[in-house]
Symmetry: C2
Subunit: 516 residues, 2 copies
């Protein structure tokens, strides 16, 4: 045992250095992607995949941890963050289509892809179904990273994130069952399948809810920002580990905890400043972990096995796009008809094309038992399809959104906020200008010209705001809310400055927070 | 190798669960320590040590990683955070006493303790010197955690933190040399010692400066908050790993990087909001890591070896207090005489009694080679002394500060600053509110209500300030000092902005600094 511990520690030490290398590469890519103009067209995460593939091509392999462990380390924080930022209020409105996509859509995809592959290749049906199961769940991490970077509207994001966050449970159960069938260790039984699925999802939702509500009510009893922030981190990993040990879906459990803490716990148990801090903290964690995950996805490509599987990969891609079309347009239409969900055709098109596959698919493929002779084929096909979805679908989704003019349709609140931001910036400039006017070293005409320029723009902005408010009276409340948030932020930032300059020991609870 | 990887991964997996357990215990302790009134008297970190010792007594061992690895994981972020928040402006003023304490003080301690132990016990002199070297460096983590929680004044904190951050280099070099002597593998040579020490410290300062200034100038070229935040994390671990691999002092290197990024890089390369976010992020990391480290220190106690070494422990404690008295009072007096540093007797007393030992001492003791027959004795003695400094000295430092009335004056100033901070925040809010009043997009009743609310609170704060000044006329000077610091900060920040925007090459020396 002592030897194993040493080997393990060498592994950790070795990997610490490798992770530092991975991060350095990722941060370089991140910096280039924002500063070099032609790279700005490519979403940052996809650029990382490309760099990773390039490194793999040069046979530079960055980290040699098993995919299960990578998932255990990186998946919980990403899922928790997604849940934390998911608006339950919006998800509730689209619960029916999301549930249909996540359950029925995945099944259509598994059997459709499996059948197509078995028909057009010589791979046996059970193995084809395994490939189908690996590839049927859209990847929350990839989808969320892409949609956020592109700035897709609220509803599309909720539909896509909701589906991605909840369909893993279905795919993982189906996969486990199909592994049993493919290796001949288990016979199919509808009853057992349904019962397995219920336990898997039920334990996930149960543990997630218990931890989520438990922490929500706990944090209501005290106001300790650092403890509350730490608790969210412990909750993310703890929920995942406990649920997996109990035989439930860790993915579903973490998402549940995240949704509860983000939508309920953070409101009843945290002061606004803590909520903001925690949200910013998780935003950073998501950026940080994504920087690692997408580079590693690219870096794990095995070119040999890709080349050998070109034909089945092409068939699988066709099957994936076809079955997803059936699932999304069919179920979407059904939901529009039954539940009046009113998802428009352009939105359905984006849901169809934007359903990327990622780390979850890869992890499932890599967990195919070594005893199965077709294991390498499964891995090769899955990697090929994942790369296609990330690089081809991922890179073209932006154009698709533009062509469907879904990107232009910014929510009115967003437009309002932009005008407010512009007004705030110009007011600050004007104020600065007026303070300077007493100086004699700049010609007064310059001041007058600039002042009238800005004043004119400000008047126009004011008209624009008025116009927006007339169009949508709800924006009046929104304006008051914006201003109140602003005031609270100024107060809280001032305390933070006092702390940073060493004059105060700890931040004060904002006075304005208690006032309605 | 494949087997080793599996063993390593099992270790990581196993330890993830254990760390979650550790964190749950720590957060419970943190919450209790702020909510249960009698526990509020005990600094949180020391409460964690006590709980850890209790768990060890019940033979609950939480984590079985080697101390080297624990140091490699936990030390860099703690040291970086300490460096980031260290005010170079203040440290510069006390550079002479800090350097004297960190170099000469450590030597006095090593030889004094070694000689006392060798005289009064039967342990051979080289081993006694090893004990002395392990225990001679005050522990930055413990000291900083304690002083911050107690709210000790700025100057005492700088003196203590400065010493603790820089004396490790001396102790580690001395320890390495003494291990060679004790195991008979090396002969003493003054020349070799000095050259070793120079390389060790020089490489540390060199690598730390290179990385610190490199990142400072790099981040000046772009404004990407998440990348800059990630870079500080990469910098903390990267500096440590690179320097240790080059044979330098990782501790000194990380501190150097932290001081440079916190005092220079964050001013020229980050916008104020990023700087604040990064500071808050590191504050959280420090809390989080401290929650783990102090519990583990307590949990690692071996009661058997403590019991066997009771007599040498008592002698070592005596030696430690005696040699530190000579070092602090002697060198402090010398510095007061030569450099006019004017450190008062009560302050020296706190520096003497508050010099806690912690994780660095334990790590050094545990790294004594197994071939040395007295290894267990060394570990037992060092653990005993560390526990004494943490539990006895740590728990009584607050009373000492109160008796020397170093905390009272400070807490009144603190109270005054809190009111001032609140007034500044609300004045800023009010000003913002009044600028907005011309806008027509928010109902006027909202403005009037908020304005009267804030105005009322401001009047009350003004009364409170008057009352505090009447009670203690010294606060008038303090108020002037606060305003002067504020003006100086505005001036310095303005130059930093000019540098950041590329209009100035280097920061100007503040005009107000020269004025009394």
């Amino acid at each position: 045992m002592s030897l194993d511990v040493t080997a393990g520690e060498a592994l950790i030490q070795n990997n610490l250095e490798k992770f530092l290398l991975v991060l350095s590469v990722s941060l370089t890519v991140a910096t280039l992607s924002r500063t070099v103009s032609w790279m700005r067209q490519i979403p940052y995460t996809l650029l990382l995949v490309i760099v990773g593939v390039f490194l793999a091509f040069e046979d530079v392999r960055l980290v040699n941890l098993s995919p299960e462990l990578i998932l255990e380390i990186f998946l919980p924080p990403l899922l928790f963050e997604a849940g934390w930022n998911l608006h339950w209020k919006h998800l509730k409105q689209d619960l029916i289509p999301v549930t249909l996509f996540a359950i029925v859509g995945v099944m259509i995809s598994i059997f459709g892809m499996g059948w197509l592959l078995a028909t057009f290749t010589s791979i046996p049906l059970p193995v084809c179904l395994l490939v189908g199961a690996s590839l049927s769940a859209t990847d929350p991490v990839s989808v969320i990273a892409l949609f956020r970077e592109l700035g897709v509207g609220e509803r599309l994001t909720v539909l896509m994130e909701g589906e991605s966050l909840f369909n893993d449970g279905v795919a993982v159960v189906a996969f486990g069952l199909l592994v049993g069938l493919a290796t001949g260790s288990q016979e199919f039984s509808l009853q057992a399948t349904i019962s397995n699925f219920s336990v898997f999802v039920g334990v996930g939702v149960g543990v997630g809810s218990a931890i989520g509500f438990g922490i929500s009510y706990l944090t209501q009893r005290f106001d300790l920002p650092l403890v509350e922030q730490s608790l969210t981190l412990v909750a993310a990993y703890g929920t995942y580990v406990i649920t997996e040990n109990l035989g439930g879906s860790g993915v579903i459990a973490v998402v549940t905890t995240g949704v509860i803490l983000g939508n309920f716990g953070s409101r009843i148990g945290m002061n606004p400043r803590t909520r903001l801090l925690v949200t910013e903290f998780w935003g950073f964690i998501a950026f940080f972990v994504n920087s690692i995950v997408f580079l590693l996805i690219g870096d794990r490509v095995q070119f040999d096995s890709l080349q050998e599987s070109l034909v089945p990969i092409a068939i699988a891609i066709g099957g994936l796009l076809l079955t997803r079309a059936i699932g999304i347009f069919g179920l979407g239409g059904f939901s529009n008809w039954v539940a009046k969900s009113d998802i428009k055709l352009p939105e359905l098109t984006v849901l169809w094309w934007g359903g990327l596959r990622g780390s979850v698919s890869i992890a499932l493929a890599l967990s195919v038992p070594v005893m199965l002779p077709e294991r390498e084929d499964v891995i090769g096909i899955v990697f090929g399809v994942v790369l296609f979805t990330l690089l081809v679908q991922g890179l073209t989704t932006k154009s698709l959104l533009q062509n469907l003019s879904l990107l232009d349709e910014n929510s009115r609140k967003q437009e309002y906020t932009e005008v407010v931001a512009r007004r705030a910036a110009l007011e600050r400039v004007l104020q600065h200008l007026q303070q300077q006017q007493v100086r004699s070293d700049v010609p007064p005409e310059f001041y007058n010209y600039q002042t009238s320029l800005i004043q004119g723009e400000l008047n126009q902005l004011q008209h624009q705001l008025q116009h927006l408010q007339n169009e949508d009276p709800d924006l009046k409340d929104y304006a008051s809310q914006l201003l109140k948030d602003e005031l609270l932020a100024i107060e809280a930032d001032t305390y933070a400055e006092f702390v940073k300059s060493g004059q105060l020991n700890q931040e004060l609870a904002p006075f304005l927070q208690g006032q309605s």
